[in-house]
């Protein structure tokens, strides 16, 4: 047998994480309002499906944005030939303008600092290649997006060192936690090259406050390491407090910062709901990084056909303003309804104001404060309640019992079905649950039917290592 590389044969692809396991259950039995009303509802996919009507209306009014229409075909040849890794100037200008508007025009972005990549997935890998050698490390606050383990580490050989954040202070990233992580890295003989933050946070659905941001900027300057701000959810901040971008912080009077250390990763996958179009952006304040990343972007350029469409769409100021406002409103409404419904059955969430998900607190439903118990609860939610939610452990959360639940990738009807199922499940379990101090170990178990417990022991279903026949990245079907 002819061998493959170590990278190929290892587990760096990350698909053995439970984050992807729930998708299997979804795929074998996906919910459909009429055809499969008992199916699993996908709540593990952070997609934004709320604004498509707005976008479709724009497309109908602007046929020239597509190269395939009679109005657009005259641009076909020059677009099809355009493979310059600088990217179309109109595209970069439109994206820079959009990024500025999303930040309330409090900052301006320079189109010449915009570098394309294959989605934010490609952007993160590219930044890691530029900033760190194999064996070097980035600090990442927990809980964090599971994809980072693949994006930052797999082919680059870079390590991730977690910065522990805990619920007692709402998962705030403290200077102490940063320092502790830095020391831990050093003890493990890992040279730290940067700090990666996601703001707004996935999975928390919260934004970083000014003081925390400033504290981070001080930290990275003290250590002379890079700061990578993944702001992929920037336009999903639907409620006060207002979003503060790293790009704003570095302009502030009292902030001392070496701008060569600052880099932003962005994408249109979440804010606009275009994950299929693979529009990833690296924005760096460091000229060498821009230059290097631009060369590397050859490995993941944005299709010129898509650049053309996006350039048209995002240079329409009126559309963009409308979109940003409408997007926030729809997310706000969805979030409010969701969190209110959950609170009605005693389920709390971390108080959030952004993102496409909530960080749900099910700690009191755990039979014990362990990750094994979290996994057990999660299997029940998938197999009995039939919702694919994401367990906190897959986000490297330090405390068991938290779950990320996506709410923007479905229509109203499906959301109501999902909430009803949660409600039913919680009420049923409230009957079965016995106060901790009175219980005997056996009655601490959540009520499980016999057949369910047999299913849980069956091989193939529970093993987190079962290979997926299909990509976990399936399109959501509502």
């Amino acid at each position: 047998m002819v061998a493959m590389s170590k990278i190929a044969t290892g587990n760096g692809h990350g698909e053995n994480s439970p984050y992807f396991d729930g998708w299997k259950a979804y795929e074998t039995n996906p919910f459909h309002p009429t055809e499969r009303p008992e199916g699993v509802i996908q709540m593990g996919l952070a997609e934004n499906q709320l604004c498509f009507n707005l976008i479709k209306n724009w497309l109908i009014k602007h046929p020239e944005a597509s190269l395939c229409t009679p109005q657009g075909v005259n641009k076909f040849k020059e677009t099809a030939l355009f493979q310059d890794y600088h990217g179309m100037p109109e595209f970069r200008q439109a994206v820079a303008k959009f990024m500025g508007k999303v930040r309330g025009d409090r900052v301006k972005f320079d189109p010449d600092r915009i570098v394309m990549s294959g989605g934010a997935t490609g952007a993160h890998e590219m930044v890691a290649f530029c900033l760190a050698d194999p064996g070097e490390a980035f600090l990442v606050p927990t809980p964090y997006y599971p994809g980072f383990d693949r994006d930052l580490k797999w082919r680059t050989g870079v390590e991730l060192v977690p910065v522990n954040c805990e619920s007692y202070n709402n998962f705030k990233i403290t200077r102490n936690a940063l320092e502790a992580a830095y020391v831990k890295a050093q003890e493990a003989n890992l040279r730290v090259k940067g700090l990666l933050i996601t703001n707004p946070s996935n999975p928390l659905g919260t934004i970083l406050d000014r003081d925390t941001l400033k504290s981070m900027v001080r930290f990275i300057n003290d250590k002379n390491i890079h700061l990578i701000g993944d702001e992929i959810y920037a336009a999903t901040v639907f409620m006060e407090p207002e979003f503060v971008s790293i790009s704003e912080i570095i302009e502030e009077e009292d902030v001392e910062c070496n701008r060569d250390l600052i880099h932003i990763v962005y994408s249109l996958s979440k804010d606009m709901g275009f994950p299929g179009f693979r529009v990833g952006i690296v924005y760096s304040y460091n000229d060498s990084v821009v230059s290097c990343a631009r060369k590397m972007s050859s490995f993941g350029l944005v299709s010129s056909q898509t650049q053309h469409l996006i350039a048209s769409m995002l240079s329409d100021g009126e559309f963009v303003d409308n979109f940003i406002t409408e997007n926030k409103e729809l997310l706000f409404k969805r979030h409010k309804y969701f969190t209110w419904s959950l609170s009605q059955v005693g389920i709390g969430c971390l108080k959030g104001n952004s993102g496409l998900f909530i960080w749900m607190d099910l700690r009191k439903l755990l039979k014990e404060k362990t990750f094994a118990a979290e996994m057990e609860l999660w299997r029940v939610i998938i197999n009995e309640v039939k919702l694919n939610v994401s367990p906190g452990s897959s986000f490297h959360c330090e405390e068991p019992g938290w779950f990320r639940v996506c709410f923007a990738n479905m229509d109203d009807h499906t959301m109501k079905v999902a909430l009803l199922r949660i409600r039913t499940f919680v009420l049923k379990n409230n009957e079965a649950m016995v106060p901790l101090k009175l219980c005997r170990p056996s009655s601490l178990k959540l009520s499980l039917s016999r057949s369910l417990s047999r299913r849980m022991e069956a091989p193939g279903i529970m093993s987190p290592h079962s290979p997926l026949p299909q990509s976990p990245l399936v399109r959501a079907r509502t």
């Binding site: 493959m4 395939c68 229409t69 493979q83 890998e125 910062c257």
Partner: protein, 443 residues
């Protein structure tokens, strides 16, 4: 105003970032600069530099435009954009099934049905650039080597080596046998790698060849596959120019060789393809990896997350390439037009007293200017190249940038311009050669 602290010795970027392996310091790219600064234009800048260093196919755009005009309802999202949402959300790294099916069919048609392709073995990447890098990540570890016949596409230096840390060991080919790859050359390259303590993981061939503009013969393909089997290594066949063979019968794909062997030893073979050359769509970033090895397919698919094809583009091309009538006509017409262009440039060069390697494919010819060199060295070649770039004002690619072991060869692209521009280029060459004759007579 924000306070900017005095920068300390700025924090070092990675070794990969600092290295020169991106390859942009090569003369291959330097010529482009001269072109960018003074580009030829039929009307506005008739004394500008003519770009003959870019292997683009512009001869068949009218066919694509005609298709779009006749089928715009289908290929855009239709009236009311009903399919838009689904398309915009589709990020599955398996890729659109209809697109993979269409690609498989297209690849089969190009090979005249002499090979079959399973759509489920097609992995999508943003261009062949990404495909070649991705395969290298999968087939070799940092510090290992791939054997590549010379002369080869300069971009391989970046694609195969830059971020992967893998090395290229050349398989030396020369004009004595029309640059064909011989078993001796293969073995010599392997030994050379071993002597440098490099573990060879595979052979990467380009068929039809860039820059030679010729197809690899069946017997040679068999030799190469035998060699790969014997050494237990991989074989990557970059067939990006397969649809640009002037006569369909002259191209033999590695897929056919495998079929003839009943797919024995197939698990070490991987094919790279793209629509950048055959369809002239480099901007759309459509690359594919076709592997006969299940593990490679699975891993490549996972890795393609870093470099997926825009679903918008997949949708358009799925429509276009599923239209059998369109693809049949396109493949046939494209071949004829490229053939015509090729004849035109060969005749033109011949009239000017210049010989080329006998070619039968691609978007370029491999021109022999070794008689013109001051000295038969790389330096001599670069001096001549400079003259051609700055005096004759043609950007052509020197063979040394393609790692050719013999100085004096140049790759000249002919499909990225109008016929009129090609005529102007040939006139300039003719004039240049005339002037040299006069000079040498006077000496």
């Amino acid at each position: 105003m924000a306070i900017e602290i005095e920068k300390p010795s700025s924090v070092r970027l990675s070794k990969v970032a600092i290295s020169k392996t991106h390859g942009e310091d090569s003369p291959y790219f330097a010529g482009w600069k001269a072109y960018d600064e003074n580009p030829y234009d039929e009307i506005h800048n008739q004394s500008g530099v003519i770009q003959m260093g870019l292997a683009e196919n512009q001869v068949s755009f009218d066919l694509l435009e005609k298709y779009l005009e006749e089928h715009h309802e289908v290929s855009s999202w239709g009236k009311g954009a009903p399919g838009f949402r689904e398309n915009a959300l589709f990020q599955d790294y398996h890729g659109l099934k209809s697109f993979r099916q269409a690609m498989a069919n297209f690849m089969e048609q190009i090979r005249g049905g002499k090979a079959k392709f399973d759509p489920d073995r097609i992995v999508l990447t943003a261009g062949a650039t990404a495909a070649n890098e991705l395969l290298t990540f999968i087939l070799a570890d940092p510090g290992d080597a791939l054997l590549v016949p010379t002369p080869y596409y300069p971009g391989f230096d970046r694609d195969l080596r830059w971020r992967t840390g893998v090395k290229i060991v050349p398989i030396h080919c020369n004009s004595s046998n029309n640059f064909q790859i011989t078993p001796e050359a293969l073995e010599a390259a392997y030994q050379s790698a071993e002597s440098m303590d490099l573990k060879v993981r595979g052979v990467l061939i380009t068929n039809p060849s860039n820059p030679l503009g010729s197809t690899i013969q069946s017997s040679v393909l068999n030799d190469i596959l035998d060699f790969a089997v014997h050494k237990n290594i991989h074989l990557v066949s970059d067939e990006i120019y397969s649809g640009s063979t002037f006569s369909p019968s002259e191209f033999v794909s590695i897929a056919e060789i495998l079929r003839n062997r009943n797919y024995k030893d197939a698990e070490r073979v991987h094919i790279v393809y793209s629509l950048s050359k055959d369809l002239g769509l480099p901007g759309f970033r459509v690359g594919t990896i076709y592997s006969y090895n299940d593990d490679v397919v699975t891993t490549a698919r996972r890795m393609s997350s870093f470099t997926l094809i825009s679903s918008q583009t997949q949708h358009l091309l799925a429509c276009m390439l599923s239209n059998h009538e369109f693809t049949q006509n396109y493949i046939k017409t494209n071949r004829e037009r490229l053939n015509k262009r090729y004849d035109m440039i060969i005749q033109g060069l011949k009239k000017a007293g210049i010989e080329c390697l006998k070619g039968n494919a691609g978007l370029f010819c491999w021109m022999n200017l070794s008689p013109l060199l001051n000295e038969p060295t790389r330096q001599g070649e670069l001096e001549l190249w400079n003259i051609i770039l700055n005096q004759v004002k043609l950007n052509i690619s020197p063979g040394s940038s393609c790692h050719c072991s013999e100085p004096g060869w140049f790759r000249v692209c002919f499909a990225n311009m109008s016929e009129q521009t090609l005529r102007v280029a040939l006139q300039r060459i003719h004039k240049f050669m005339e002037q040299r004759k006069v000079c040498s007579v006077n000496q």
